[in-house]
Symmetry: C2
Subunit: 429 residues, 2 copies
């Protein structure tokens, strides 16, 4: 039995909630995360299944897994990831077997089952990995074109290097937080057009960036380059990522060395890392690239993934959220493999747990923009919400929720949510 078996669309689980067609976590998914609960406040490694979490530390101690339980009694996935790709696959295959409808090993062992299954609603989810480095790319052609049209020249919206380089920059890893963490509106330097000097004030143009991120599973050594063909084997899995952005701070600070405080106050990721193996059935062709990239960025075959994405906004005080954007990860011009090959092409090493953001994912239409900057055209065309309110940018108390899933026949491989509510800026300077 190989790992491909875990992706069989016909598989069902004896955990009934996993069989609902709209569950993000069917037996074909089995994403990894870190959680704790009221009964045990120590973070440990778990796998999402339906509305529940399987506690891998319990399973390992009870002899249901071959791996040492020490790999799972951890506040991050890094130790498990370091065990290597064969182990990721072995654990996922074993869980696929153990949770499958016809398998009674765990199902009929009420003592272990009772300890090993925790309801997600009763658990706290933690940042799943220690992130040694966070890199953010800029790989959506639609996004880069929108931004270039807005701030530079619509006729030459893409900069000359954009079609040659999967442009990226180093982000701030310390402020990457897990979904659910409130995000405080940053203060910073803002330069108003009619005033000679900048002011230090609360951001007035707080925005989201709908992104996905991938997590490095297999490191590389300093001086080595990862080839485009080998790159996907270095990826453990993917998450949703919200690259919160203070547009007014960004505009004043970013020349010539790039965004800094306008991004460094918070980046939110979803808590469950969906493995590349689980995404395999949804592999699809990337957009045609013209000109053909330089040889070190070329790979045969299909390297995009068909992942539906949406952004929901629950306005401050509102009961219901509404969807403000729908797009798809497959629109990305540069693939993850190309991003990673480029990142290491000069010899830069990558480490286990490194997070690589895709860059804002925008589609070809206004309702498929991955940022308010684009969908409101820098605030000029505010969104009209169902409540009658408008939004040019994000207001205090607004909650933003990113969702993503691959739609299979009768099931979906979901990412859960990547959510954050915005708090007012702090009072003191």
């Amino acid at each position: 039995m190989g790992w491909h078996q875990t992706n069989d669309p016909k598989l069902k689980s004896w955990i009934e909630s996993a069989n609902a067609p709209d569950s993000d976590f069917p037996i074909q998914n089995l994403p990894f995360g870190v959680f704790s609960d009221g009964a045990n406040s120590s973070p440990r490694v778990g796998v999402a299944i339906g509305d529940s979490i399987v506690d891998l530390s319990v399973l390992a101690r009870a002899g249901f897994l071959e791996q040492d339980s020490a790999l799972f009694v951890q506040a991050s996935l890094n130790a498990f990831i370091a065990a290597g790709r064969a182990q990721w696959r072995a654990v996922r295959l074993r869980l696929s077997t153990l949770l499958e409808t016809s398998n009674g090993e765990l199902r009929d062992n009420s003592a272990v089952r009772g300890r090993a299954l925790i309801k997600q609603a009763e658990a706290q989810l933690h940042l799943p990995v220690d992130i040694p480095g966070y890199t953010d790319f800029y790989s959506s052609k639609e996004h880069a074109t929108n931004v270039g049209s807005m701030f530079r020249d619509p006729k030459n919206a893409l900069l000359p290097n954009w079609l040659e380089i999967p442009i990226g920059y180093n982000g701030r890893a310390s402020s990457v937080v897990v979904s659910g963490t409130p995000v405080r509106r940053p203060k910073g330097q803002i330069k108003l057009p009619d005033v000679e000097r900048p002011v230090f004030a609360a951001c007035r143009k707080l925005d989201i960036e709908l992104e996905m991120g991938f997590i490095i599973g297999t490191p590389s050594a300093l001086g080595d380059a990862i080839s485009c063909e080998d790159a996907e084997a270095h990826i453990f899995g993917m998450v949703l990522l919200n690259d919160w952005s203070a547009r007014d701070i960004q505009q004043w600070e970013y020349v010539p060395l790039g965004p800094f405080n306008s991004k460094g106050f918070a980046t939110t990721i979803s808590p469950w890392i969906v493995t590349l193996d689980a995404l395999e059935p949804f592999r699809c062709a990337q957009p045609v690239q013209s000109p053909q990239p330089l040889p070190y960025l070329c790979h045969g075959g299909e390297h995009a993934f068909d992942i539906a994405l949406e952004v929901d906004l629950r306005a401050a005080g509102a009961e219901a959220a509404q969807t403000i954007s729908r797009t798809n990860f497959r629109y990305m011009y540069w693939t993850m493999a190309q991003q990673l090959a480029h990142h290491t092409s000069g010899g830069c090493n990558v480490r286990i747990g490194d997070l690589m953001g895709s860059g804002t994912i925008s589609g070809p239409t206004p309702d498929s923009c991955g940022s308010l900057l684009e969908s409101t055209w820098n605030g000029q065309r505010p969104l009209h919400l169902a409540s009658g309110e408008t939004r040019a940018f994000i207001q205090d108390g607004d909650e933003l929720v990113l969702r993503g899933w691959c739609q299979g026949e009768g099931y979906r491989i979901g990412f859960g949510v990547c959510a954050g509510q915005v708090l007012a800026a702090r009072e003191a300077a």
Copy 2:
């Protein structure tokens, strides 16, 4: 006895090599690092004194220090730094006492002394800290002016934000290496002016950037800002830093998100972290800032440090090195306190071991430039070496050595060396 006592210029050590006027490591310095040696290959914490290293793990186990030896049986200083500023000061004060000429406790205990003192020449020095985040600033007005004159407009060399913001960007922490680590010439995309498309090739404009870095000792929480007045209390100490730069790769990639692969292949730091306490006698006035910075960047008193800096080049095949630049850290326009206050002003948290580079340190004259880009004016005015050779940029086999010290009366607080030899680019793509 307070920690200021450790800076008394009259102090002498019974380790005679520490009393030489040109020793980087007199008893007034006592910088912290991590080392191993032939007798014990496990990295552990030590302090440099003269030509020797004091093994703090041995001293602690033998009862010469109050601290638990577990703090020092470590491959990085992070655990010791996490013990807090009072402990940094207590250990430094205790060592100052223990190593002072008149103190016989260790001097006359040949058994412990024999195990606790290792010659630097026989030790291997390691990266002193685990670095969760690396930020690089751009705080030398002379450097920013030189670069702006070269690539933009000499009449408006400084960008409008430069006098308001201590401009900085996120660097790549994974490729920070300790002095002595060879640096492989990177490959990357290079766009030649007379060719339509870029090529992927070995860097032809490999350069150094003479910088200093400071290490965060006291962390801050996400959402909190560190005030300018409090900032220095968050700093554990300083190192020399060479921000190796591939100028041709940089020029093509850096718009609009900043340098990436042109810097990410290697950053070298010196192995000994000189505490801010040891530098205290060399505190001096920073340059006058005009306009006066915004209030969150204002601090009373003196916040610069008088640290003489030089760059030595040993050309490939040459026996002797020659000094190609002399400058001083005191020329920096923005202080470390201002850099840190700005970094956290939007709520970005800092962590123990975070490295903050000053940016290239250039003085007011051509022989005080901190990069070859400046001293050769982008290669147009090559350096003439004593051997008769010239250098527009760095060639394979060249060794670059940064040095820095504070000159006291009859002693100096030195940083040792920050050295790296350049290897040829790897053969394969």
